[in-house]
Symmetry: C3
Subunit: 330 residues, 3 copies
């Protein structure tokens, strides 16, 4: 059965420090893949998975993907927390588990997969969209969207001259005698031609019929000048948390390929909550990282992120991350 399944993965570990300043009190923690930052890795979350694609003839294919996430500093698995019930369960495939069909009509998936919102969310991110370095990491409110709610049906179109689109519906499965079921919907449209790329995405989250619907919108764009690649992102969040009417958030950055094996990338992100009662809340931060390729599969990296939240009437809350690490794919 070896030919019908491919085993693949990524292990990403770093040594670093996270300094957090809350109410004027600083605390610096040193370690490997710090929980305070991203335990799963510095650039990407560590993972291993099984995937396969069977040719059914006539352009039709059956596809599946089963992917676990983990923290290499402890071996601890990514679990599944239902966005609808908040219950956490021991997952064997904490990132993806779906089966589906693809062909001329596009692709259909059933199970747990990234939302179309998630699929393009990082496309405008500087610092390699790294877990711990990307400028928006400690700044954007929208980072807490549901990236893989599960119980979902997904459809993506084929590419029409660089234009693609995708939609997903996740069933809450939590209907009761008095409330209707929750649901999460997500959409994206992406376009790429030559050096230019752009993506618009939208996601709504309703935990159950008794709750308000949070709305996430994001627009990303990039332009590759050759010497540098320009990156831009705009996001808007509505009705996600109490007392915040909406949040507008931004990020600007650039990738700078210094040599064929070494790239620098950095940027700046900011976000402002329009608060219903009280003063607005502002967050801003920058992140910069260098990525050195030992091979196509193995990279060394180093970077820094420095972010703060302006707390009305008090001193700023700050986060500062330094790390050096290695990422290996297989």
């Amino acid at each position: 059965a070896q030919s019908s399944v491919t085993l693949y993965g990524l292990v990403d570990a770093y040594v670093g420090s996270v300094k957090t300043t809350t109410a004027g009190q600083s605390l610096t923690t040193y370690g490997v893949n710090l929980p305070a930052a991203s335990g799963g890795g510095g650039l990407n979350t560590s993972r291993f998975g099984l995937k396969g694609s069977e040719d059914l003839g006539g352009g039709l294919k059956a596809n599946f993907l089963l992917e676990a996430g983990f923290d290499p500093s402890t071996g601890v698995a990514n679990n599944y927390t239902s966005p609808y019930t908040g219950t956490t369960s021991n997952a064997i495939f904490g990132r993806n588990s779906w089966v589906g069909l693809s062909g001329g009509f596009g692709e259909v998936k059933l199970g747990k997969m990234w939302t179309p919102f998630d699929e393009v969310k990082g496309s405008g991110a500087a610092a390699f969209d790294a877990n711990i370095f990307a400028p928006a990491t400690f700044v954007w409110r929208s980072n807490t969207y549901q990236d893989r709610p599960g119980n979902a049906v997904y459809y993506s179109t084929p590419s029409f001259a660089g234009l693609t689109a995708a939609a997903m519906y996740s069933f809450g499965e939590n209907k009761t005698a008095t409330t209707s079921a929750g649901k999460i919907t997500a959409f994206n449209v992406a376009y790429a031609t030559g050096p230019f790329a752009a993506a618009l995405s939208y996601q709504t989250e309703k935990v159950s019929g008794a709750f308000e619907t949070a709305k996430f919108l994001q627009f990303n764009t990039s332009y590759d000048l050759g010497v540098v690649k320009l990156l831009g992102a705009y996001g808007r969040v509505k009705d996600q948390v109490a007392n915040v009417d909406k949040t507008n958030e931004y990020q600007l950055g650039l990738d700078f390929p210094v040599t064929s094996t070494f790239t620098l990338s950095g940027g700046y992100a900011w976000s402002k909550d329009d608060v219903v009662a009280g003063s607005d809340i502002k967050r801003k931060g920058f992140g910069i990282a260098g990525l050195y390729a030992l091979s196509k599969r193995t990279n060394l990296y180093a970077g820094v992120n420095d972010s703060k939240t302006e707390v009305p009437g008090a001193s700023d809350d700050k986060t500062r991350v330094f790390a050096v690490g290695v990422r290996h794919t297989f």
Copy 2:
């Protein structure tokens, strides 16, 4: 080491609805692989595993099987709940994990494996013995037997002209100063010749020395007429729950191969509890499903199950399931 281990699996996901009526109140839930039905898949529980067989010479082989089960709609793993202590633990191989030897003498396994009762229990089931469509799914009391108690020694005979037999003993490992250990034993005898097959199986379950022994017996048979295959099953449960002396249960069904790639299967099941005090409890239901083969490894399916329990002195409790799905093996 690639040659000494085979990676295999099955991913089964559906979209469907489950309508349950309890005390006259109906509630319909829509979703992907609904927990109310079988989260692990519509036809079969989703799984992935590792297996291998080493030739030791002289017909002797060393064999192992390690198999995890999961729900593809969430990636959540099948865990292990001890039948003796009721404790649930995080399992990496929630379905099977055993090592053993096979040869002219038959096969011996040590670890966690299906009981011989389980091995043949579904052999007379209509609607492809599907998790959510089989007629007996919401009807038979015996469905709650322990299918993989673990801590077990297993033996199966070689085939004698179509006749095979198997036995298993599971150690409770829960002896205390005042009670002896629990145990689960199981046996089967199966016979197949030409179009005819039959299997008799028996299982006893004693949680600990302080508890009564529940007894499960089942007889399955099938006859393949070519145009259709006839399926029949009879089960008897004794001393499984308080106030029910014994339960007799039945199922009749047939498989109808419409074309070389499309098969319909359906049947009817019923069950009656002989209650010690009060009125007897009756359950009945039917299930029908269609299975279309896109290839040897990939199927589309659709089906329905409609079952009810006659509650003495009250309105019936009902369950109705509709689903369409895809099953892919690798």
Copy 3:
């Protein structure tokens, strides 16, 4: 991607009994891979893993290892319990998960790996260092050292004419406003030439800045006479538990290759706690086991361990283990 990752594993299951006598009361439990002994296997803990090594040129390699442990009698996974917080989390790779580089300079690993103390701890152990038979199993206080604390950086030297050394530092990552972070450090030096081998190892464990540092030292040696191999081990533990100043522990044993496929091994271990207040505590035990090779990958084994702890002013606490089993690697 098949060429960049190797899937490997070991399944070890036995049938046996454990008799424990506490305060004069005996209780004997029978079963498969008994939790009272080692649930994971008789000789070794059952496991499966993924590993790979990528040649980066110039002698440099990128390496990774991801390894899960489990109990084949139940399929239950080895989890991760933080030595610093005591919190247990669901691990997908409960034994090892690291990534690193190796070359002329030696090897560096980041993540969770065996401590250098653990790497050589069993090198002087009789009865194949078996989980349930090794003489020191129920005797040595040092068995409760942290063998894979995680959050660690590891370095090992290349071999200098048979001499190697390794060091590891594990970050507590649990600094608070009032206490500094915990840490675990470990070192080893090992030497092997012809029939002679010896290893010295040292480990310190400090849960947090508010706790005392436990210290473990061990010296192992072996000499292969051909007819038999002599094994010796000495250990010292300091400040590990309250009221025990230090513990000295010893083990003597020998391996006896009876035929090319059958080996007997056995030995005797003892340990004495120097108690601060009250009488010293003494423990002693022997273990003997036979290992028969059905092939290079498959072994049958049988053995016994008989150990006791002399409790001052009371009857001895005793443990007696019998087991026969099979170990298969893939």
